[in-house]
């Protein structure tokens, strides 16, 4: 059933050129359908105030642009219904990384950790002239790993990542590491496991599981991290 209500949005605003410190600005949308997605609400607010900054692209939860902290939880605005939220809605940038402006964060540290796990298939050379074979069972091991959209919701919800963003790789990068460790076509498994065997990179995960709670693709980085640890033990035997 469509129910229309007035909604209030308290949004974090910060423009480094004019603001000493961030402020919270309130916006009203009157008579909106509560089944509306939060991204559509933000676009309506941006019509009132075009200076409001946030990233956006696909509108359907596959590009990972619009991660933000909503009522204290990291979410993608395009797949979040207003009816799931409190009224007023509290919207802040994803926590733990520097804010560039308003809801836009600087994700370079996050991408750096992603690149650090060598997130690419290292296959045997020479490449065959056709596809490498992979059984459906081997391919199934990649389900739950390859679907990551790099939105950053998980890593920026992780207290260990907040504490050591430069040393602990964080759930997103570790999920990627697992995606290649588990791939039967990858030849660098041992190297990958050796590189992760460090007091910080992997082992700062304290299975708090915030990452699992917030992942908009319902992926489970904690399980992937556990799997890496098992593989590490097997690797040493």
């Amino acid at each position: 059933m469509m129910s229309t209500t007035d909604w209030t949005f308290n949004i974090y605003r910060f423009n480094p050129e004019t603001d000493q410190k961030p402020t919270i600005k309130s916006y009203e949308l009157q008579g909106v359908d509560s089944e509306m997605m939060l991204l559509d609400a933000l676009l309506a607010i941006k019509k009132q105030d075009p200076t409001l900054g946030f990233r956006k692209s696909c509108r359907e939860g596959v590009c990972g642009s619009d991660g933000m902290n909503v009522d204290g939880v990291n979410r993608l605005s395009c797949v979040t219904r207003l009816s799931e939220l409190n009224n007023p809605v509290e919207i802040r940038p994803l926590p733990g990384l520097p804010v560039i402006r308003d809801l836009i964060i600087d994700m370079e540290q996050f991408y750096k950790q992603y690149r650090a796990v060598k997130p690419y298939l290292i296959g045997a050379e020479p490449e065959p002239e056709v596809e490498r074979l992979q059984t459906p069972a081997q391919r199934d091991l990649l389900d739950g790993l390859y679907e990551c959209i790099l939105c950053g919701c998980c890593s920026t919800a992780c207290p260990s990542f907040w504490w050591n963003p430069d040393k602990f790789l964080g759930p997103a990068a570790l999920l990627q590491a697992s995606r290649f460790i588990e791939d039967s076509r990858d030849e660098a498994t041992h190297v990958r496991l050796d590189q992760l065997d460090d007091a910080y990179k992997l082992f700062r995960c304290h299975t708090i599981m915030s990452c699992v709670q917030v992942c908009p693709k319902q992926l489970n980085p904690t399980r992937a991290i556990g799997r890496i640890k098992e593989r590490m033990v097997q690797n040493k035997l």
């Binding site: 423009n15 480094p16 050129e17 004019t18 941006k46 019509k47 075009p50 200076t51 900054g53 946030f54 990233r55 956006k56 692209s57 696909c58 509108r59 359907e60 939860g61 596959v62 590009c63 990972g64 642009s65 797949v79 560039i100 402006r101 308003d102 836009i104 994700m107 991408y111 690149r115 060598k118 997130p119 690419y120 298939l121 296959g123 490449e127 065959p128 002239e129 056709v130 596809e131 490498r132 074979l133 992979q134 059984t135 459906p136 081997q138 391919r139 990649l142 390859y146 679907e147 959209i149 790099l150 290649f180 791939d183 076509r185 990858d186």
Partner: protein, 587 residues
């Protein structure tokens, strides 16, 4: 303000599948390559492609590239260039294997080979039984490809300028392209990237329509840049309406649903595609299925309280197939409709999806335009690939699964040609400061302060007008009105102002620059459509219901100066095989 200047061998604008396939080729050839993208690469719209990529691997049913070629030519309604189509279909298997080697997690068959599914417009043996040619990674093939291509670019150490917006090409007096002006979205600083070769891979412009399947970033930026540089756009009247967008929202529901055995029903519960396409039924070409849905609804046989959509039934496929082959679709239905397609049919209606037209190129990816008596003279230094380009392999109507193929085939081909060009032209041409100045003036226009219309207001009017006057079915009257209305909107553009002049991540300024591109592309589309008095592929004229090969088997070229139309012949001669002469197109 001083302008930052950087020099590269190759500049690639756009980091979707086409741009990234090209940059990978160039980086591996040790060219110094810069990729400029207005979003972080994995946010590009390739990520949203679902169903798969076509290649005649014959993993599931017998197949060969020549059948693929026939289907593509027929699907194009004989407007596709057969040399380019032959090239694409021949090289497809090799390039899909290459994607597999890059790490794309394709779904697998029991024998370990790449899984392939049936898609619309595919046949065995030149129009006989249904083929299964679409290589898939569940229903997330675009995501899988884009991420793998980005990852291999990380490995190849490609240089990325993430969140930089390209505004204009820089040309010299002789028409050679010398690079582009780009703006850092994060800092607002403009930069001149000088490049010996420039590739446009900026994707489509679905945002000219109100209901579309496209990302918000698909604003035709490369198309606008090309028009402003005096280069025409080709076949822009051919806009693909995908048959199955989520009704009312436009979000894509993959053709793979029908490939896996799903079918459409109308308000009477009838499988109506049996009437429109007795053989291929629900797997007829997209233009055919979209028109059928439109007519069912128009004639009162729609579903729902307002009878304004039809239903896509998957509930007979079983939970296993849906969970395994269509998990992303199920998730979208749960999120946006609150229904589970395992149990409930999906309400669908055609949605603006793809531009068959674009920047005219040859099969090597060189941008070509008429110069004096030559219809296809390369523009020195400029290349295009992917949805923004018109090679033309899609002609009047693209087959599903040929878009992901197009981007890897022609991204790679363009890169190879760029490498050749740089071998033959070892010296950098001198910069043309007048062209730089002109581009900077245009950029500074948005620093003006004043009162007038808003970017959003004009954009809404534009999208509404395109929907009203240039939709699935068209008439001269509607299109003429469309030209008039879009013309008025274009005239209002100088009266649009923004109120945010900050430098840091100024999204208002970026959206204003995008609006300029949207207006150019919309005008080009409607003018091209008003001129073509026949029905072919996705261009359906109620007043000219037949295809007219004598008069109209030719490519349209639109020049923005004076909204002028020109035409050039279709390349009907393939590279090695006999050409497929035009025939009546039935499915």
């Amino acid at each position: 303000m001083s302008l930052i200047r950087r020099r590269f061998d190759a500049l690639i604008i756009g980091a979707g599948g086409g741009g990234l396939r090209a940059s990978l080729q160039l980086s591996r050839a040790e060219a110094n390559v810069a990729v400029v993208s207005k979003v972080f690469p994995t946010r590009s719209h390739t990520v949203a492609a679902q169903g798969g990529v076509n290649a005649a691997l014959a993993n599931v049913l017998p197949d060969n590239w020549h059948w693929h070629m026939f289907d593509t030519v027929k699907g194009s309604d004989y407007l596709g260039d057969q040399d380019a189509i032959e090239y694409m279909c021949r090289v497809a298997p090799k390039l899909v294997y290459e994607l597999e080697h890059y790490g794309v997690p394709f779904s697998r068959l029991d024998n370990g080979k790449i899984y392939q599914r049936a898609f619309g417009g595919q046949s065995q043996n030149f129009g006989e039984k249904q083929a299964a040619r679409t290589c898939a990674a569940a229903d997330r093939t675009g995501h899988a490809m884009l991420h793998a291509l980005y990852q291999q670019n990380i490995r190849a150490k490609t240089h990325f300028f993430d969140e930089y917006f390209a505004t204009d090409l820089i040309k010299n007096e002789e028409g050679a392209v010398l690079g582009a002006i780009v703006v850092s979205i994060q800092t607002g600083e403009a930069m001149l990237i000088e490049a010996r070769t420039t590739l446009l891979a900026t994707g489509g412009a679905g945002q000219i329509y109100r209901t579309n399947s496209n990302a918000l970033i698909n604003t035709g930026d490369g198309l606008g840049m090309v028009l402003r540089a005096g280069i025409p756009l080709q076949d822009m009247e051919f806009i693909q309406f995908h048959p199955t967008g989520i009704a009312g929202i436009g979000m894509l529901i993959t053709e793979g649903c029908r490939g896996e055995g799903g079918y459409l029903v109308n308000g009477d519960g009838e499988r109506f595609m049996e009437r429109y396409a007795p053989n291929a039924k629900d797997l007829a070409s997209r233009d055919v299925v979209s028109r059928s849905i439109y007519l069912e609804v128009k004639e009162g046989r729609g579903c729902g309280p307002n009878k304004d959509y039809v239903l896509l039934k998957l509930d007979h496929l079983g939970a296993d197939t849906i969970m395994k082959r269509l998990p992303g679709i199920r998730q979208s239905c749960l999120t946006f409709l609150g229904i589970d397609p395992i149990e409930t049919p999906i309400p669908v209606y055609p949605t603006a999806h793809y531009c068959m037209g674009g920047i005219p190129t040859n099969r090597k990816g060189e941008v070509v335009m008429p110069v004096k008596d030559t219809p296809e003279e390369p523009v020195p230094g400029l290349y295009a690939a992917g949805e923004c380009a018109c090679v033309s392999v899609h002609g009047g109507n693209r087959l599903g699964g040929n878009s992901l193929l197009d981007i890897i085939v022609f991204g790679r081909a363009a890169a190879n040609e760029m490498i050749e060009h740089m071998k033959e032209n070892r010296y950098r041409l001198p910069m043309n400061e007048a062209s730089v100045e002109k581009a900077m003036d245009r950029l500074h226009r948005w620093d003006r302060k004043g009162e007038g219309e808003t970017v959003d207001g004009l954009k809404e009017d534009l999208k509404k007008a395109m929907e009203d006057y240039c939709g699935v079915y068209r008439t001269q009257e509607l299109l003429d009105k469309g030209v008039e209305e879009i013309g008025k909107i274009r005239d209002r553009l100088p009266n649009v102002y923004i109120n945010d002049f900050s430098r840091t991540f100024n999204t208002a300024r970026i959206e204003a620059l995008e609006l300029e591109n949207l207006v150019e592309v919309a005008m080009c589309t409607v003018v091209s459509a008003a001129a073509r008095q026949e029905s072919r592929g996705a261009h359906s004229r109620v007043d000219f219901p037949k295809r007219e090969d004598q008069q109209w088997m030719k490519h349209s070229l639109y020049f923005s100066e004076g909204d002028r139309m020109d035409y050039k012949p279709v390349r009907t001669k393939p590279l090695t095989v006999d050409s497929f002469p035009p025939k009546e197109r039935v499915y």
